[in-house]
Symmetry: D2
Subunit: 135 residues, 4 copies
């Protein structure tokens, strides 16, 4: 959400002050991760060894779905539903880690898996940084 939502948060006196930066960064990571996962799943479908990539496609799609759900909850910051957001952040880190583990197995052969694993690891790390803003 970058600049615009960043400004929006600053312009809103009710928004949480602590952890704002971690939340804004997470909102960026989840959307980057979701789109990278969807692009990786699509690229996998054109590979000759697609049957070996079936689980990679499934975990990437799951990861994209969880990232997007978190990306919808995060901008509602005025009276945040803290338990639900924190639960979704933890789930997102788990889905990212699962996808990264599988993508890393194919990373030497497929650049898209290497890039997807990298996006997932960054997103999982940012989930862990932002989690404390919702305690």
């Amino acid at each position: 959400m970058a600049m615009l939502t960043d400004e929006m948060m600053s312009s809103d006196s009710n928004a949480p002050e602590d952890g704002d930066e971690a939340i804004v960064l997470l909102a960026d990571e989840v959307t980057t991760c979701a789109q990278t996962c969807l692009a990786c799943a699509d690229a996998c479908l054109s590979e000759e060894d697609v049957s070996e990539l079936a689980q990679c496609i499934r975990l990437s799609t799951d990861c994209a779905d969880v990232c997007e759900a978190l990306g919808r909850l995060l901008p509602r910051l005025i009276e945040p539903n803290k338990d639900v957001i924190r639960g979704m952040i933890e789930l997102c880190a788990m889905a990212c880690d699962r996808c990264a583990e599988e993508c890393e197995r194919h990373a030497e052969r497929h650049m898209h898996c290497s890039l997807c694993a990298e996006a997932c690891r960054r997103c999982a790390e940012q989930c862990r940084s932002a989690r404390q803003s919702f305690i």
Copy 2:
């Protein structure tokens, strides 16, 4: 997903046998609950006491987002990502309970809040029934 996915599961020898019915019922409940929450939020926006319904609108929208994310994960049953699905089911039950609690506060004045609370309670209950299929 009702009949079609029900048949699809039966036609697929790899799909999980135990708990199929609980999963099919949950897939129906999450979509009903999501659409009921979105309709309730929309109806709240036209009420005279909308400012008192702000939190109801937020929790309904959160609940719809979590229900829909679960509704995307559930149909991928061949090699289910069990930890992630189970986590999402638990989160969905929590989001439904939060929304139901708030809607129940307005249920006497607004029929849509009463119906939404009912849908959320049913969905949360079905989450708890289906959860054991992913252990």
Copy 3:
């Protein structure tokens, strides 16, 4: 959304009167179609001829995404954004037809493709029935 939203619409004097039934039926069809498409894509990934099913998986996933987006717009009926909903209904019919055409090519070999094509054709037909409610 079935019974609950149906009741909700009836309890709301502002909701559109004409075409209510067509809209309620469409809200059901899009969610059934979305979940059937996701289940078909998942089942395709386990087939031996998965490389021949790549386009089927892509079109099913696209179709699910369009159906779900329409499923989010439909419950906001009080002051409907008619041009946008009508455009999404037309797009949904197109995505369903594309997916059905591809699934029908594999319907003899794979029961899930046959069921998915059927769900898509029903959804496309319901899109055409409900479209006139938003003119």
Copy 4:
């Protein structure tokens, strides 16, 4: 999706060459716009004049839903479903314009409406730039 998907596209010989930059920019704009719309809707709910902002909240939520649906279709670039993507791009421009028009009416009083209108206008413009990549 920025850098990662940008690299992914470059690493993939099957991806469309023309218009890549417009598509990557659009993928960024739709996610920024979706999150800005969701944040604006949430901020509107806390304003004293929330009853006058009801339509703003509805159009922002519709806009976010259409932007997100487009954000799911765009990363599937290997064998793009051109008619469906082009239709969704046109619909997204329309939803953004509708939301911007409404937000602009409240832009003097509410900074979040001003920022949301700006995000919507930028996204609609990028829709028009990227549209030709799918003809």
